[in-house]
């Protein structure tokens, strides 16, 4: 079986250049590639475009890349909870493209699946529809949306094997599997890396064919945004 293992985050992100087009898995701070974000922070690159459902918080996740002015553009569905983001956006240092969450997910899925365009009802009659083809099917209006593909997709999984097969945990799965398929180079960091053959082939969420580099991450903080407890 093909071995995708690299030594760690530093090697995994070593060839990500200025102005790269990236995807990063995660929803809020859940399921984000913490190790790769740290390794990117050590690199002297800028002008990144990042597709990610959210933009982290001021002092964690993608927020750290924003603070270091490494990001030119965010493509997201929701970017609240981030004061530095707001400052850069209002000052014109940062561009943002807001996309309905389901359209974002389907555009990424389409990128991985070789579907250059598809129709969705989300956004019809709204400013999201501006400049897009609108078409009626079976009496309902739909927008045409295009695929999204990335130079590098960076994802975080729970378990992975050396062949690049991935299993996610809980709702930390979110955008990770579909982004894994949409990267020209896909980097997966996992909490536990096992030999090929150690995972049940029937329980794998992301087939290894989509993953070019894998390593076992360390020191996961897994910060919680809204710790909500039952009375």
């Amino acid at each position: 079986m093909i071995n995708k293992t690299v030594s760690g985050a530093k090697e995994a992100v070593a060839d990500i250049p200025n102005n790269a087009f990236l995807m990063m898995g995660g929803f809020g701070l859940s399921g984000i590639p913490e190790n790769c974000i740290s390794a990117l922070l050590e690199k002297d690159i800028k002008g990144l475009t990042i597709v990610s459902n959210n933009a982290g918080v001021d002092d964690f996740g993608i927020g750290l890349l924003l603070k270091k002015r490494m990001v030119k553009k965010m493509i997201s569905s929701y970017v609240g909870e981030n004061a530095e983001f707001e400052r850069q956006l209002l000052s014109g240092e940062l561009e943002v493209e807001l996309i309905p969450q389901g359209t974002l997910a389907e555009r990424v899925r389409a990128g991985g699946a070789g579907i250059p365009a598809f129709f969705t009802p989300a956004g019809v009659g709204t400013e999201v529809a501006e400049g897009k083809e609108i078409r009626e099917f079976d009496g309902k209006l739909y927008l045409m949306e295009r695929w999204l593909k990335a130079d590098f997709a960076i994802v975080k999984a729970w378990k992975g094997d050396t062949a690049g097969n991935l299993i996610f945990k809980g709702t930390a799965r979110n955008f990770n599997p579909i982004m894994a398929a949409a990267g020209k180079i896909t980097i997966a960091e996992v909490e536990e890396l096992v030999p090929a053959g150690a995972l049940d082939p029937n329980e794998i969420h992301t087939p290894g064919i989509y993953v070019q580099r894998i390593f076992q991450g360390e020191n996961y903080e897994k910060r919680i945004e809204q710790r909500t407890i039952s009375k």
């Binding site: 969450q101 359209t103 019809v124 709702t171 930390a172 955008f175 599997p177 919680i224 039952s230």
Partner: protein, 219 residues
């Protein structure tokens, strides 16, 4: 006038047995507390879970298990986890029967605005545009008027639209209203102590009153 808990309580009466339901952030989240125990329904979280349970006890908190509001949650028995594309496949494909969400404005033809206020920092639409474009039944929880007394039930929305002709029913602090297929807010119920005249005054869009309007009950 209803408080937020009472709006949630009234909306919970709309829930039917066997439904899959997506609850938005804010008042809609509170609806879960009032769904009758004898109904079997499943709550969807668009970040990838069917079967949201109560908030966890301190010892149960799992950072890998959150809802779309980024709150820590638990799962009920029979839950299932999935990725974001699958989540919106089930939303867009009409498999989620009922969506309950908040609104800044609703128009008399069922348009909804709830994601953007010009001049203010835009946080994004999240999954709202997908939800309102897809669900069979959309119920809005909202305040009838803004803080400065302006009606939020309008002939046409003034704010950027989230979705067109999608809202089926509104539960506000003053009333329960249905959107007429021909346009207009059909007044179905009054909040306790609120008169039809007050609702009329506070509804800028076309209000349709067809027969006596009962006071709402919560049971």
């Amino acid at each position: 006038m209803l408080n937020k808990e009472q709006i949630a309580q009234r909306i919970a009466k709309e829930v039917q047995n066997g439904q899959y339901i997506n609850l938005g952030i804010g008042i809609p989240t509170l609806v879960a507390n009032y769904i009758p125990k004898n109904l079997d329904v499943v709550l969807q979280s668009e970040n990838g879970l069917l079967g949201i349970g109560p908030f966890p006890k301190e010892s149960e908190v799992d950072p890998d298990l959150i809802n779309a509001g980024k709150q820590t949650i638990t799962m009920v028995p029979g839950s299932v986890l999935f990725n974001s594309a699958e989540s919106f496949a089930m939303i867009r494909g009409g498999h989620v029967h009922l969506t309950i969400l908040g609104a800044m404005e609703v128009s008399e033809n069922g348009d909804i605005a709830n994601w953007k206020i010009p001049g203010k920092m835009v946080k994004g639409m999240g999954g709202a545009m997908d939800l309102v474009a897809s669900a069979e039944n959309i119920i809005v929880a909202m305040q009838h008027c803004s803080k400065d007394g302006q009606s939020k039930l309008l002939p046409e929305c003034t704010l950027p639209i989230t979705g067109i002709r999608c809202v089926k029913k509104i539960v506000s602090d003053l009333a329960v209203l249905e959107i007429s297929p021909e346009g207009g807010f059909i007044l179905k119920e009054r909040a306790p102590g609120v008169s039809v005249e007050e609702i009329q005054t506070k509804t800028a869009g076309k209000l349709i009153i067809d027969g006596p309007v009962p006071e709402m009950s919560f049971n």
